[in-house]
């Protein structure tokens, strides 16, 4: 059974590129355009991994991360934060809130795939 991954980002072109990349590798892909939608889809679909953008409308990535980690039912869901703000404080804030990994935009597609596989223990 293929792993389920949710892409949460408000930049359409980024979503398109990552979606194409992950589907090509055989993953099942879900998409959310803002933080609230992302949290709702996580609860409804229980994906194995969330690729979480930080700067999103309605609810930012940090808040989504925090809300997920407060929910015991979602403890199995891995979180990979993606952000264009690569400062150290942002990285440590994300990890401190319970994210499992952190990648700075722009990223290499190979590295992204490697990180995804590592988090999914494949």
């Amino acid at each position: 059974m293929s792993k389920k991954i949710l892409i949460a980002d408000d930049e359409q072109n980024i979503v398109i590129s990552i979606e194409f990349l992950l589907r090509r590798e055989g993953f099942e892909v879900l998409i959310a355009g803002d933080g609230e939608e992302a949290l709702a889809k996580v609860r409804a679909e229980k994906p194995d991994l969330v690729l979480l953008d930080v700067m999103m409308p309605k609810m930012n990535g940090f808040d989504v991360c925090q809300a997920m980690r407060a929910d015991p039912e979602l403890s199995a869901t891995r979180i990979l934060m993606l952000t264009a703000k690569g400062r150290d404080t942002e990285v440590s804030k994300g990890l401190g809130l319970g994210a499992d990994g952190y990648m700075t935009k722009p990223f290499s597609t190979k590295e992204l795939l490697a990180e995804v596989r590592k988090l999914l223990e494949m």
Binding site: E11, I14, I18, G33, K58, T104, P106
Partner: protein, 933 residues
């Protein structure tokens, strides 16, 4: 009911009440919870100014001269409201130098002179004795009036009554006993009597209530209000002169002298000096006294005229003395309760005055008259007795009895010939003699001991000759010849027309000659020689009392003294226990070290500060002049030359200047530090803002880069990708690079505008043309959205001054924003141009989703895109509107948005006419008359 026992019982009961108040006040003071540390109590205690003179005598005066009773209250009112700064300075000086009385004050100012203190004491005692007699007269006549109740019999005295049968003699003795119990229970270095002040304040309340009660009774009980009394009086021709403001011939000079005299009296009467200066707890209390005391005077005077007029009409032709109206009016109406209240009020007025005055005088007699004599003649005896504090108290007690007996004597001799007020004014005139030496001493450094002695003696002599002796002569105790024919038959020496000066009343006459002699001698003799060391030292302390330098207290002493000797000396006058406590406290203040060194034989040696401290302690008990002598007896003093004193004073003042300079510098430094901190915070804030912007910019740059890199890698890694995907991805890459380019251009553009380095090509242009050009440029986008553009652009509008390219940039931004948010198919944009009073207004309206009110300001912030209503955020850089707004503002206009959510948004901007900006351009055209505007 008003039999003798009732009157006596009421009097004793009242005195008992006073004593209770005093005892309570002292007790609270000992517990450190002073009840007199209160500005109202302070102001009330000042009202000891109002004696039986006020209580009974004002009505008597008003019955003769109408409002002539008033000037003695106007003087104090003026002094308190305008001259309080003098009082403040006196308080400062007294506190700084531990001065105990007005004699001590003058003596201390002129080099701690025994002679001067003694002279002031003699003047005060002699001057005040008629005043005390006045109180005795008032109390004894009211007592005899009461005893004949219900008949109203004017007390008729004859000098033949033996002393033992004379009621007033016993009254004098009772008052003396009462004062002794009140004021001389223990010695205090500051010579303050908290209990006494509390009792005096109580008395002031009682006498005011009593007087107001009579006033209300007469005005509203016997008559029907103020109007009624004055109407009745106006009907009687003989009373009409009482109701005019222009009294007889000498009226104006008399008013003038009475105002001067009373203004000086309220400062310099020993009892006023005592309550207002010596007993002052906190100089801030002066603030309230400045209005409360005059208010008290006003209140106690309101009913004087009605009572006087009422009495004159009521007792017309019955020979009732107007001085007794306050009591006899209620008596005639059989108001026994009120009569008793009035009597107690009068008793209050009398006892208050007598107690404070005799305590003050006895302190002066003891410290400035008896002590110096003891020091001179019985030095040996004084040295032997270990503790002289008991002796001091006994001297004071003796002085109190003596003063009251002297008052009684004057009352027997001269009391009958004068009305109450006339007696009081004799005292006022005597006390006024202190003014030149005292006020001069506070404000003029040049005054000397010789000058003060000469001035006081001359003034006092003139007073005695022109006022006191005539008062004896008029009572028949001196031959009256010298009044009418002058001393030795020389007419020029007639005491009340001295040197032929006529046309003045006795008081003004005395004031004129005594002040002429007093001030002349004081200034004249002072100018003969420069002040000596001691005088110059004290002059500095007094004259500079209000400035900083007066409080620094340079120590002007050089010599050797042993701590033990000093403490023993102080102990002999204050009692060993008090001395021990005081010295220990001083040592603690000085930090234990520095105040004493050690002499050769190992005994601790006192430094100048300790010697000065001991002297000030002694000064509190025995006066500053005596203290000086006593300290000199245990200290081996080396005299300082005037140069040395001046040097020390100079050094001290230089030091103070330095320290002030230092303080100023330190204040400036503090201020500079604060400014630096603020600047630093501003810098950090700016830094943070810059950081935020940088972070925003990099974020905006990274986002398109992310897509570009991802798509490029996808294309690179998958050569067999479908052609459709390949073309789609390449298109997206191109789009993102365009976005990047736009972003970079706009960021640089904004940075240039914000830093003021942008190029502006200002020229006059037709806004309509600019708008049409912009709409043409965007028509392709509009067609793609299947939208429609409406225009409302009038012709022949005035030109505006702006940069064409920049304006097109603004219009394109607004138009493309509008297009971006339109719904495909049904979109509509409306562009308008309107004429305002001073410019043009452009509007760009769309029928898109609109902007919520809370977001209408945000859209003009950098990188702030408002797009919550949609799932995806709008394309664009988030810099278009901020740039547009800056461009419009650069040309003097305004850009804003009006919107109702759901009904579209309208962006509007204004631009001012060209003429305003470039008047030079239209001047040549003015002549042709063809101006466009």
């Amino acid at each position: 009911m008003l039999e003798a026992p009732v009157v006596i019982a009421a009097s004793l009961l009242y005195l008992g009440l006073l004593f209770a108040a005093a005892w309570w006040g002292d007790r609270r003071a000992d517990q450190g919870r002073s009840i007199i540390a209160n500005p109202t109590i302070y102001a009330l205690s000042m009202a000891v100014y109002c004696t039986t003179w006020t209580f009974y005598g004002s009505v008597g005066r008003a019955a003769v001269s109408g409002i002539g009773f008033l000037p003695v209250y106007l003087g104090p009112t003026l002094v308190m409201s305008l001259g309080w700064i003098v009082l403040l300075k006196m308080i400062r000086i007294v506190k700084a130098n531990r001065i105990t009385s007005i004699a001590d004050f003058i003596s201390s100012r002129y080099g701690k002179s025994h002679g001067l203190g003694g002279l002031v004491t003699i003047i005060a005692v002699v001057g005040i004795i008629p005043y005390i007699a006045l109180q005795l007269k008032a109390v004894s006549s009211t007592v005899s009036l009461l005893l004949s109740y219900p008949e109203i019999v004017m007390p008729h005295r004859s000098a033949t009554i033996p002393v033992v049968a004379d009621l007033s003699f016993y009254i004098a003795l009772i008052l003396a006993a009462f004062t002794i119990v009140f004021g001389t229970r223990h010695l205090d270095a500051t010579e303050r009597h908290e209990g006494m002040v509390a009792a005096i304040a109580l008395e002031s309340g009682v006498k005011l209530v009593a007087f107001l009660a009579v006033g209300i009774f007469v005005t509203y009980g016997i008559y029907d209000g103020f109007g009624d009394i004055f109407d009745h009086a106006a009907a009687q021709p003989q009373l009409q002169h009482l109701m005019t403001a222009t009294p007889s011939g000498t009226g104006y000079s008399s008013w003038f002298s009475l105002i001067i005299l009373s203004g000086l009296a309220v400062l310099f009467l020993p009892r006023q000096f005592q309550v207002a200066v010596v007993e002052n707890v906190n100089e801030a209390h002066l603030k309230r006294a400045v209005w409360l005391f005059p208010l008290y005077l006003l209140l106690i005077n309101i009913f004087v005229l009605p009572i006087a007029l009422g009495g004159l009409m009521h007792f017309a032709g019955q020979g009732v003395d107007a001085d007794t109206f306050v009591l006899t009016l209620p008596m005639s109406q059989r108001q026994e309760g009120l009569v008793l209240l009035v009597f107690v009020g009068g008793l209050s007025a009398a006892t208050g005055m007598v107690i404070v005055e005799t305590i003050a005088l006895s302190t002066m007699v003891c410290n400035d008259l008896v002590m110096p004599m003891l020091l001179r003649h019985k030095r040996a005896a004084l040295d032997e007795s270990k503790d002289v504090s008991g002796l001091l108290l006994n001297i004071r007690r003796g002085a109190i009895v003596a003063i009251l007996l002297l008052g009684y004597l004057y009352f027997r001799l001269a009391g009958e010939a004068y009305a109450l007020v006339a007696i009081g004014l004799i005292s006022f005139s005597a006390v006024a003699q202190f003014a030149p030496a005292l006020i001069g001493g506070m404000y003029w450094r040049g005054g000397t001991r010789g000058g003060a002695l000469a001035g006081l003696s001359a003034g006092f002599a003139v007073w005695g000759y022109t006022l006191l002796l005539p008062s004896f002569a008029k009572s028949g105790w001196l031959p009256g010849d010298f009044l009418t024919q002058g001393l030795f038959g020389v007419e020029l020496l007639r005491p009340q027309q001295l040197f032929g000066l006529t046309g003045l009343d006795g008081i003004s006459h005395c004031l004129f000659w005594s002040f002429l002699a007093n001030i002349g001698a004081y200034v004249g003799v002072s100018l003969v020689r420069p002040p000596m060391v001691a005088e110059a030292t004290q002059a500095t302390l007094f004259v500079d009392a209000l400035s900083e330098s007066g409080q620094g207290g340079a120590v002007l002493w050089r010599g050797r003294a042993q701590v033990n000797d000093l403490q023993e000396l102080v102990g002999r006058f204050l009692g060993p226990a008090r001395a021990q406590t005081a010295f220990a406290a001083f040592a603690r203040r000085q930090g234990g070290s520095g105040s004493s060194g050690s002499s050769g034989d190992g005994r601790p040696e006192a430094d100048a500060k300790l010697v000065q401290f001991a002297e000030s302690l002694l000064a509190g008990a025995i006066g500053s002049a005596s203290a000086r002598v006593m300290v000199a007896s245990v200290a081996k003093e080396e005299p300082l030359s005037i140069e040395e004193v001046m040097h020390i004073l100079d050094e001290a003042s230089q030091l103070r200047t330095y320290s002030r300079e230092l303080e100023r510098k330190s204040r400036e430094l503090t201020a500079a530090t604060l400014e630096l901190q603020a600047a630093n915070e501003r810098l950090q804030e700016l830094d943070r803002v810059k950081d935020d912007i940088m972070s925003s910019v990099t974020h905006e740059l990274r986002t398109p880069l992310t897509s570009i890199r991802a798509f490029s890698e996808l294309l690179r890694d998958d050569p067999k990708m479908h052609l459709a995907d390949r073309e789609r991805f390449l298109g997206l890459i191109v789009g993102e690079t365009e976005r990047l380019t736009r972003l970079i251009n706009q960021t640089l553009d904004l940075a240039k505008i914000e830093s003021g380095r942008a190029d502006w090509n200002g020229c006059e242009l037709d806004l309509k043309e600019v708008i049409e050009q912009s709409i043409a440029a965007i028509s392709q986008l509009v067609r793609e959205k299947e939208a429609h553009v409406e225009v409302d652009l009038p012709d022949n509008l005035p030109l505006i001054l702006a940069d064409r390219d920049r304006l097109i940039q603004v219009m394109l931004n607004l138009l493309s924003n509008a297009v971006k948010f339109l719904k495909p198919g049904s979109g509509r944009i409306r562009v308008t141009l309107a004429l305002l009073a001073d410019g043009l207004e452009v509007g760009v309206a769309d029928n898109g989703p609109g902007i919520r009110p809370e977001d209408q300001q945000l859209v003009f912030e950098k990188f702030r895109q408002v797009g919550d209503t949609m799932t995806a955020k709008p394309s664009g850089t988030g810099l278009g509107l901020p740039i547009s707004r800056r461009i419009v503002e650069h040309f003097g206009g305004r850009l804003w948005v009006e919107s109702v959510a759901g009904e579209g948004a309208t962006f509007r901007f204004t631009l001012p006419f060209a003429v305003v900006q470039q008047p030079a351009a239209v001047v040549p055209e003015a002549g042709t008359g063809g101006s466009l505007s």
